[in-house]
Each structure stands twice: as C-alpha cells, then as structure tokens.
C-alpha cells in the first residue's frame, strides 16, 4: 500500500515536473516567436524590406500574385483564366492580338485565303525553337491542330475550328487548313492558348501535361499545384531579349491579401478585379487597367412564359438603368455595353430599344404585351461565379419593380448555377460571358446553326443564324461591318438578352517595376513581362 502511494507520488512529481517544463517551454517559445514577430514588424521590417527588394532585383525573380492558381499545364485543355495567362508566357499561337485587338503575326508570318475562301494557308516563322532547342516547323502545326481536334483531348475551344476538314504541311514552313466552308473567324479562334503550337515530339511522347515545351519568352521551371508556378527566361526565344530571369506566379487566396503582399513588396505584380481593393491601395503602387474581355448580361429564356413575349422583354430592357447597375456592381469602374463590347465591330453601349431608362416606354410595352400591371419572373445568379451578381440583381430588381415587374432572384452555389445554366433551367440568368473582337466567335456558339450553347442562349432565330453565317464568310472588315451592325441591332431590338456592362481588370505593380504593359486579352495579358524590368 505504502509502495503504491510512493509510486503514485513519484508519478505525480514527474507529471508536475513535466507540466512545468511544458509550460516553461511554451512560454519561452511564445516569447521567442513574439519577439521575432515584434522585431520583424518593427525596426527589422525596414531592413527586411530593403533586403527583399535587393535580393529580388539581383536574382530577377518577379512575383505575380493572383487569387487563383494554375490548375493545368496542358494548353489544349485549360479553361481557367490564370492558366491562360501563365501558359501564355510559355506557348505561342500562329496569330495573336495586339494591344488594339487587331490580329498580328506570331508563329505565322502571313496568311491568305484561296479556293473561294475554303483554303487558308499560313507561312511560318523560321528560326523559332522550342524550349528544348528543337526547331519549330509545319509538322508541329499539323500535330498541334490534329491533337486539338481529337475528341479525347477535350480541347475546350475545338468548336472554333469546326470548319477544319484537314491540316496539311505543304512545305517545311507552310501549312494549309482545308475548310468545309468559308470561315474568317477561324483566325480569331487560333489566337487561343487552346491552339498553342506544341512540339510534335512532345505530343508523341505524351508528356506535355507535365512538361510544357513552347516557343514563348519563358520556359517552364516548376509547378506546385494550388500554390505556385515558376517560369524562367527562354534562351531560345526568337522575339528579342527577355529581361526577367524568372517569374513566379504565387497563389494568394484573397484580393486583400494580394494588396498586403504588394505593400510588403513580396509580390511585384498583383492581378485584381475588385475596384474597392484597388482604390484602397497606397499611392506608391502603379495601377494598370484594361477593359476585361467579358460582359455582364441578363440572359433571358425567350421561348416560355412571360418572356416569350418580345414586348415584355423590351419592357425589362427599358426599365433598367445600366449606369446604375455598373455603379452598384463595380463602383462605376467599367462601361455599359451593347452586344459587341470591343473591337472593330463594337456596338453602341446602349440598347436601341431604350438608350436610357424609360419607365413610360416600359409601361407602354407591358400594355402592348397584355400585361399592363407587370409580370413576375425568376432569375438565377451566383456570387461564386461572379462576385458582383448580388449587387447587379439588387439594382435590377429594384428598377424593374418601378415598372411593375417582379423579379425573384435565386443566388446559387457555383456548380449548381453552372448546371442550371447549361441545361437552360432558368427564366433569366445574370451571366458574365466572354467577349471577343469577332462577333461570330461571341455569338456563333449561342445563336449560330448548331451552336453548342443554344440551350442556355434560349432564343432561336433563322435571321440571327443567317447573319452569323454571312458575317463569318465575309472576308473583309468593310464587308463584315454592316452585317455585325445588323446582328447587334437584331439582338437588342428583339431584347434577346439585356446587355449590361463590362468591367475593368487591374494589374498593380510596385514602384521598382518598369516597362510592364497590361494587354487586353487573357492569353497575352502577362506577355508584357517579356520587356519588364526590376530596378
């Protein structure tokens, strides 16, 4: 008994000792880390800051911060914005857009149509090499396009090349695209990262999903899924000297944290979309902004219920003040737009039915539709898909109510929204859709014959189909202009959807960054890093 008590006492003593040691160790650790934190946050922070800047400048590691992360390395299958931007540093396409959204030669030096615009011939650039040093030639183009068009690849943009019957090499540096019908928008399609030029050997080896190999200014260095993506200067690059030794795209999950990273100079470039965050940044940072290649619209399903009546749709269009939606959704940092927001065929940024809000006209349309007291419909939105959806919905709801129209809003989770949107299971949907300088690329998929997105588009019209086919076949800008103007007018007079606004995208750079130009297309938006310098 006594022995047991003694044993318990010994154990109790050991426990007490252990407890004291643990508490002391914890206190010491906390004190040390607190001291570190305090010192770092205090005087050392200035030293650290200077050190960091010098170290970054010396090694030329340029850090780009984005809320998203690079998800895939195979350029044919990417759909995420950041994937396009990141792989746009490594890969190049046959043609590309310049800052004014005009097509320019990239890996093709020239192109021409023949045989009634059913054959498209590209002359290829000579002296181009892939990252591994292998030369680029026509065999790589044929292999790349064949790969993109193979169903197993699941290239998200393959439908843009649906007119391609065959691609053949007619020389070491010449390729012909045989088309089923005259197709001018194919050039626009070919600017996508999804149609990057890949090495034939890499395609055969099947390793491009893990080992990117392109002809662009940077070559792949490393990738940590969900965290970072690193590229380094491509020594074989044909387009001039690349100044930065390496670029790291770092995932910083919130825009507020990106702002903090810029202030701490741990990132030199931040990609932002929220005007409030950009407005709150200190004055020492440089803001670059371009109108995003996307537009917000209230998509309407026009074949059932009250929205099947064109005058009800027109009443909705007349009841909405686009400027107010823009103001409340993105603090006015954007532009009200029509069906074609950008490029040579941009439509006027107002509805031809009601250039501005006109409640009298809205009520007149309701009366004409036989619904003088208004009607009720529902709309889906998703803040997960577009963080401005709630704000847009609130304004639109309030303005429609002034005309007697009641809109019920369902804010859905991202995937639920996508599922309903794809199935056309909505009466109206707040949507952020991709814009393109080519109206055919924008609307062929929705309103063209056999368009993949005809179901969510919710409107079928032979007039639109004919206009789209005619515009696609027209080979000059002069021929295309009246056609696309008519397309815009038809879309708005029929109030097929209600086009709202396009917002700006922002790239914010720190004070030591020089020569960066923020390009408007997703593929090329970071290509300005090619000539960027760090002081």
């Amino acid at each position: 008994m006594g022995g047991r008590r003694q044993s318990n006492a010994v154990r109790a003593g050991a426990r007490t000792k252990l407890l004291r040691v643990a508490v002391a160790a914890g206190a010491a650790a906390a004190a040390v880390t607190a001291g570190i934190g305090a010192s770092s946050a205090g005087a050392a922070s200035r030293v650290d800051r200077v050190d960091r800047v010098h170290r970054t400048a010396a090694t030329r590691t340029f850090v780009v911060a984005d809320t998203s992360s690079v998800e895939k390395l195979d350029p044919d299958v990417v759909t995420n914005f950041l994937d396009f931007q990141a792989l746009g540093l490594i890969y190049q396409q046959l043609v590309q857009y310049n800052a004014k959204l005009q097509l320019k030669p990239e890996l093709a030096t020239s192109w021409s149509y023949s045989d009634g615009n059913k054959v498209l011939t590209f002359q290829l650039r000579k002296g181009v090499r892939f990252d591994d040093g292998e030369p680029f030639n026509a065999a790589d183009v044929v292999a790349s396009i064949d790969r993109a068009l193979t169903p197993k690849t699941a290239d998200a943009s393959a439908s843009f090349l649906s007119s391609v019957k065959k691609v053949v090499a007619t020389g070491t540096y010449a390729v012909e695209f045989e088309l089923s019908h005259p197709d001018n928008s194919i050039l626009t399609g070919l600017t996508s990262v999804n149609f990057s030029m890949l090495p034939e050997a890499g395609i055969k080896a099947g390793n491009l999903a893990t080992e990117p190999d392109g002809t662009g200014p940077f070559e792949f260095s490393s990738w940590s899924p969900n965290n970072s993506f690193v590229v380094k200067r491509n020594p074989h690059y044909w387009g001039g000297k690349v100044t930065l030794a390496s670029v790291k795209i770092e995932t910083v999950p919130t825009e507020q944290s990106i702002a903090s990273a810029l202030e701490a100079n741990t990132a030199q470039l931040g990609l932002l979309t929220t005007p409030q965050v950009v407005d709150g940044l200190p004055s020492g940072l440089t803001r670059h902004k371009v109108l995003g290649l996307a537009y917000r619209a209230l998509m309407l399903q026009d074949e059932h219920g009250p929205l099947a009546n064109v005058d009800n749709r027109r009443a909705i269009s007349c009841a909405i003040t686009r400027h107010q939606v823009l103001q409340d959704a993105v603090f006015g940092d954007g532009r009200p737009v029509g069906p074609v927001p950008i490029g040579a065929f941009a439509s006027k940024p107002v509805s031809v039915v009601c250039p501005t809000q006109n409640l009298k006209k809205a009520k007149a349309y309701l009366k004409k539709a036989g619904d003088p007291h208004g009607f009720t419909f529902s709309a889906i939105a998703s803040d997960a898909e577009d963080p401005t959806d709630s704000a847009q919905a609130t304004v639109v709801q309030s303005e429609l109510s002034q005309a007697g129209i009641k809109m019920n809003v369902q804010n859905l989770a991202g995937t639920a929204y996508v599922q309903d949107w794809l199935a056309g299971k909505f009466q109206a949907a707040f949507a952020e859709n991709g814009a393109n300088p080519s109206p055919y690329v924008m609307y062929g998929r929705y309103f063209g014959a056999g368009g993949n997105l005809a179901v969510p588009a919710g409107y079928h019209s032979s007039t639109l189909q004919k206009l789209l086919a005619k515009g696609d076949a027209a080979s000059t800008t002069a021929q295309q202009k009246p056609i696309w103007k008519k397309l815009s007018a038809t879309l708005t007079t029929q109030a097929v959807w209600v086009w709202l606004f396009s917002a700006y995208n922002y790239a914010v750079t720190t004070s030591g960054v020089h020569g960066f130009q923020f390009e408007p297309t997703t593929t090329t938006s970071l290509i300005g890093l090619r000539t960027t310098k760090l002081s």
């Binding site: 650790a29 998800e71 741990t266």
Partner: protein
Amino acid sequence: MVMQVARRVSSMIVTLFGVSIIIFLILRLLPGNEVTASLGVSAGLLSRAQLAALDRYYGIGQPFYAQYGSWLGSVLTGNLGVSLASRTSVASLVGAALPVTLELAIAAMLIGEVIGVVFGVLGALRPAKLLDDVGQGISVFGLAVPTFVIGTGLVTFLASVFHYFPSSQGFVSITVNPWLNIQQIFFPALTLGLGIGAAVMRSTRTAMLEVIGLNFARTARGKGLSRRTVVWKHLLLAALVPIVTMSGIQLGYLLGGTVVVEDIFVLPGLGRLLLTSIDNRDFAVVQSVTLIYAAGFVFVNMLVDLLYTWIDPRTRA
C-alpha cells in the same frame, strides 16, 4: 490500459469508416460533376464525343458503390489516388500540405496554452485585479471576434503599417530557412491561438478557483510550502483535467480553423488544399483530406481520454 487503447482504436476505425461513407455520399449529392466543376460554363462548348471522353477519364457514370469500393481499396493499400484536377498524386499533394498544417496547429496550440494557462492561473489567484481584467479582456476578444476578422485585420495592419507580410512570398520549410519559417507561422498561429487561449483561460480560471480553497491547498500552504510550489505543483495539477478536456476540444476545432487561417495567411496547408479541391470537385483529394482531418480529431480525442488516466489515476477503472 492496453485494453482501453485497443477499444479506442477499434472505435476510431469504425468512426473513420462512417465518416468516409458520409463524405463520399455528400460529395456525390452536390450538383454538378468533375467536368462542370473543372470547365464551368465552358463545359457547354464540348462536343458529345469530347464529353464522352471526359466521362471515361473521370469515371463519371460508374455506380457509387463501385467508385467507393475502388477508392477505399486504394486507400487501404496506401494509395490515395490521383488528383483529377492537377493530374498529380494525392499523396504528393497531401505530403506537401500536411507538415504546414501540423506546424501551424502545434504553434497555435502552444500559444493558446501559454496564454490560457498563464492568464487563467494568474486571474484565479487575484480575481478582479489588473491581470485578471487583462486576461478576461483577452478572453472576451478571443471568443467574440472570429478568426477570419483577426487574421484579415492582422495581415492588413502589418502590411500597410510595417510593409510586412512574410507568408505571401511563398512558404519556406523550417529545415530550409528556420527564421523565415517562424515569421511565416507566428502570426497565423497567434490568430488561431487567441481563440484557443480564450477558451483554455476560462476553464483554467474556473478550475483553479474551485480547488484554490480546498483543504489540500490550505494544508499545503500550512505546511509552509512556497506560494509558487502550491500554485504550480498542487493547485494546477488538481485543476488539470478540465484544462486538458478544453484543450482537446480546442485542438479538434483548431483543425477546422486552419482552413480559414491558411487561406488568409497564404499558407499552403491542408485547409487550402481542401478548399481548392472542393471548388474543383476533386473528389479523391477532398475525401483523403477530410479523412485526415477526421482521423486527427478522433486521434486527439483518444489522446485526451488516455491523458485523463495518466493525470488522474482514479479514472482508470
């Protein structure tokens, strides 16, 4: 003792099995699939042949039980599968993220325990005095203010005032650069530790107040033992069971808290991996990470139960 451990381990296995089934079913009940999650509305641009190829790749259309059986079989043989989003092995993703979360959790627990026990004991010794008021203030703050508010505020304050945000330059392992690693872990750990400290402090203070006037404490003081010995050797030991209980509960919740804090402080831990994988409907990753969190929670509970018997031999029966 051995029997008790064996009982707990077997119940842990049953619990984890149940968790795995629930997680598996919940994930499949969510709208959408891997294709729509991966491509968003762009999935609509794919042709039927392309969709069929993707369905085959993702295994969409297989019966649930076949999918579950295949996953469970792989897990039991140590193969966590392949992330369908990034096409890399789940084991490598988890292997990279787990040490970050563990380090964060341990540091947060350490900070929380120090804050909680020290202020709890000091507050109980001098109720309604300055130190007690300070402790109570910290406690109310830690309990009332959510971690995402504390974290966001801390990040914004340090970056805008001191231009200091060490974790945003990419996480560095403690073996590579210990100094930078400590700086990267300290503030997120502090953010989490405040909440833990608040709860532990309340338990410590209450438990200490309960034992402070008991006979054994009076006897110890009467024997002429020093105040420090009485407090830290006798009183705290007697008050340890509720403190350990509360710490165990907090450690369980801490695992969930790391999800938010890792996102704010840009730490590439399990929490961030989980959030990204949920967004991508990357089922193999979500299932594995959730299972790891559940295993952590169950393991901590088991550890706490075993600690009771070690701290207080009376509970061994």
